[in-house]
């Protein structure tokens, strides 16, 4: 299940969608949430907000493909991926990846796999807006190293 939306989300409600109370084969849920955080390197400015852009049509397809890859790799029960777009404030949640499974190890692997691939394969772009300046976020080479480790 994949959603791109402007609004925030409530983790508990999103979890209920993939762990309904009558699905008694599910033993494990692993959830990742990414937040808008303050600048790491630029100590002379403070982040005030973030603008997130995406490619309507392609981004949804990319997310669905990542979910399918994860389902092929691990015995997962259900997946819930939400990514926000538009203007987000400092401390807002950006992304949710929630995975249910019979066993915890598969849920951990699938959840981390999805967020790792989302970072390199799903067309989203972030612009950080500080009090003094704004700039598009630079690509993080570590994200590509992480994705390569899955192969």
């Amino acid at each position: 299940m994949v959603r791109i939306q402007e609004e925030g989300f409530d983790i508990q409600s999103e979890v209920k969608k993939i762990k309904p109370s009558d699905e008694s084969d599910i033993g494990a849920l692993v959830t990742f949430v990414g937040y808008v955080r303050d600048f790491k390197d630029n100590k002379s400015d403070t982040l005030s907000s973030m603008e997130i852009e995406f490619y309507p049509g392609m981004t949804e397809k990319a997310l669905i493909e990542i979910e399918e890859k994860a389902r092929r790799a691990w015995d997962v029960f259900d997946v819930n991926i939400i990514h926000r777009f538009g203007k987000l404030n400092l401390n807002d949640e950006i992304v949710l990846v929630a995975v249910t499974s019979a066993h915890r190890t598969e849920a951990f692997r699938a959840c981390e796999f999805i967020i790792d691939f989302l970072k390199t394969d799903a067309p989203f772009w972030k612009k950080e807006i500080g009090l003094k300046s704004e700039s598009w976020v630079d690509v993080n080479k570590k994200d590509y190293e992480k994705v390569n480790k899955w192969y």
Binding site: H83, V95, W125, W136, D138, V139
Partner: protein
């Protein structure tokens, strides 16, 4: 006709998000298309490591031929999540 889309920093540099280009020999591949665009939009080179998608699929081989009716997108590396 080829529909060309620009995103993020590239969209801002070029001050345009969408463009329709007549399908012709000069835009027969992604590489050709970007050379063609560069004539009018030199600012393309202000963005490093441009990525391309054809019909919403990332394309690594820029020599891929384009077809009439294709949707081609150019954008900087992905930074979501």
């Amino acid at each position: 006709m080829i529909k060309v889309l620009f995103f993020a920093k590239l969209r801002e540099e070029l001050r345009i998000n969408e463009l329709d280009i007549e399908y012709k020999a000069e835009v027969a591949s992604i590489r050709d298309l970007i050379s063609y665009l560069r004539q009018e939009y030199q600012q393309i080179d202000n963005v490093k490591n441009i990525k391309a998608a054809v019909n919403q699929e990332l394309v690594l081989d820029w020599d891929l031929s384009l077809n009439d009716g294709d949707e081609v997108a150019f954008f900087p590396p992905i930074t979501g999540g």
